[in-house]
């Protein structure tokens, strides 16, 4: 993966992380929060190459 794209993905992951932890303090695992965490996981897989079987949390 291109280095610039990697940086962009990582910054989006961090932005989502901030939004998620802010929401987690205030609310339950709402559908909106679920979508954010799904997006974050999809992006994390791209930079960590984690689409293997034994990746867990």
């Amino acid at each position: 993966m291109e280095e610039n794209l990697k940086v962009l993905i990582k910054s989006k992951i961090s932005a989502l992380e901030a939004e998620i932890s802010k929401s987690e303090k205030k609310e339950k695992y709402t559908e909106e929060l679920q979508k954010k965490t799904i997006l974050q996981e999809i992006l994390k897989e791209q930079v960590q190459n984690e689409n293997t079987r034994f990746t867990t949390r």
């Binding site: 993905i9 989006k12 339950k28 799904i38 996981e41 034994f54």
Partner: protein
């Protein structure tokens, strides 16, 4: 009935999922089965008749929209995908992916009318290993573990079925003619990860030796486009015989056709081997490094597994011995032998099994079998230490009603850290600590008293487990503080 199967792993894992998807179809013959996979691996589902729809995770579209100047954002792309998935109103979602992402997708799709199987989340978003088989998978499957159940069998157990011979079949391929010699063996030159792969110079040595001795056979090399250079490097070192290089040139359907007509498949733990399990083509599997053949090994009858710790230790002569043994149907005790009958596989080795205690201990915990004997002093010391820590946790949990959870929580956290540390440093203790930590993950969110009750239940189970290894006098001493 509508079922969604989540399989977001790579080609080999998708092929290992085929039998369970067929079994699911056998269990629910009128169900419509959809599979969610990654676009780049979707071809691995071609020809699987039990699947009526293949859905793709829109990863590339999401990434593309991160940089796009267009109005639609990554969030919009994901929203459309998730809403479309939800609108299918699945009755059952089976998560065969065992990943964080798949656990979140599974939870997103769960509802009163949509049941789920496999990794999911608790209602507060925490990871949840739902079900006994998923909990087993989470705790005991993977590298450096002692599991000996095949991943395909574990998937079948998740959906409550036993695999049968007809679950292990290739797709029906019509009208494909292969321009290949009558007698050939297939060599998969690569593997999904470098550490599982045989280096090019070793392949050269093996193929030279094989073709020199067995001139009636040709060698067909297969692999992905990323392995083209490796295949070229191998071919330059082969001085005799016929080597046909198809690396980077084959579609999945062609691989099925090539492998089904081969006399054997030679390679590391890879998708070619998993295809061979479906075509019932015997494999000579070079099981390298941390690969656990018990959980992902070949399933075709009469396959052989050659276990090697490092690629430097891989002997070309031993590989040749194994190939001859399969091709000439000569018995050998040098390898792990694969015996498959009625869809069930056994791995048989005549060598001493140094990890037998670990597997016996796993079975005693999960299947209720007798606790195995151990003569490792470090293990007993670890048991005593873990028992001590467990006792402290029980005492703290008993005190919650008087002093409140906030006061005991840091002590419990510290106790868990020690339990995990013991699991890491003491031989075989990881089996117990991983079981324990996984059981704790399964505790649902709830009122303090409910959580406390569940915690005590797990610590009592732990106490019973540990006491099997503690002499009575020491146990009495420990209980008296």
């Amino acid at each position: 009935m509508k079922i969604l199967v989540l399989q977001l792993a790579r080609l080999g894992d998708i092929f290992m999922t085929w039998p369970s998807i067929r079994a699911l179809h056998r269990k629910y013959p009128n169900a419509e089965i959809h599979v969610l996979c990654r676009k780049k691996y979707a071809s691995a589902l071609n020809g699987l008749k039990a699947v009526s729809k293949i859905k793709h995770l829109p990863t590339q579209e999401i990434i593309a929209n991160l940089t796009s100047v267009k109005k639609s954002s990554s969030e919009d792309v994901l929203n459309v995908f998730l809403q479309e998935l939800k609108s299918e109103k699945y009755d059952l979602v089976v998560n065969f992916s065992f990943s964080p992402l798949s656990s979140r997708l599974t939870y997103f799709l769960a509802s009163e009318t949509t049941k789920t199987i496999g990794y999911t989340r608790h209602s507060d978003g925490f990871f949840n290993v739902d079900g006994e088989v998923s909990a087993y998978f989470y705790a005991q499957v993977g590298t450096q573990k002692f599991n000996r159940f095949h991943v395909s069998d574990l998937m079948a157990s998740m959906i409550g079925v036993d695999l049968v011979s007809s679950d292990w079949m290739p797709p029906i391929i019509n009208g494909m003619t292969l321009d290949l010699p009558k007698n050939y063996i297939v060599v998969h030159v690569g593997a999904s990860e470098e550490h599982k792969s045989v280096p090019a110079y070793k392949w050269g040595k093996i193929l030279n030796s094989f073709l020199e001795k067995e001139s009636q056979y040709a060698v067909v090399m297969i692999g992905s486009a990323e392995e083209i250079n490796k295949a070229r490097a191998i071919q330059t070192t082969v001085l005799t015989g016929q080597v046909i290089d198809l690396v980077g040139l084959t579609e999945v359907e062609e691989l099925f056709a090539i492998i089904s007509k081969a006399k054997l498949v030679l390679g590391a733990d890879s998708m070619a081997m998993h295809i061979a399990s479906l075509t019932q083509t015997p494999c000579f599997n070079i099981s390298l490094g941390s690969v656990n053949f018990w959980e992902t090994g070949p399933r075709a009858n009469n396959s052989l597994i050659y276990r090697v710790t490092k690629s430097d230790e891989l002997s070309a002569d031993v590989v040749i011995q194994g190939l001859f043994s399969i091709l000439r149907k000569v018995e050998t005790s040098s390898f792990v032998k694969v015996i498959t009958q009625g869809g069930q596989t056994e791995y048989i080795s005549s060598k001493k099994d140094p990890q037998s205690f670990g597997w016996q201990l796993v079975k005693s915990i999960y299947l209720g079998e007798k606790r195995p004997m151990c003569d490792d002093l470090k293990f007993f010391e670890g048991i005593l230490k873990m028992n001590e820590v467990n006792q402290v946790s029980i005492q703290q949990l008993d005190a919650v009603s008087k002093v409140g959870a906030a006061k005991v929580a840091p002590i419990l956290d510290r106790a868990d850290e020690v339990i995990q540390l013991l699991g890491k440093v003491v031989p075989y203790m990881g089996i117990i600590s991983d079981w324990y930590m996984t059981e704790k993950l399964r505790i649902k969110p709830g009122h303090e008293s409910e959580i406390c009750k569940e915690e005590i239940r797990i610590h009592q189970m732990m106490k019973n487990l540990l006491r099997s290894y503690i002499p009575e006098d020491l146990e009495a001493e420990a209980n008296n503080g």
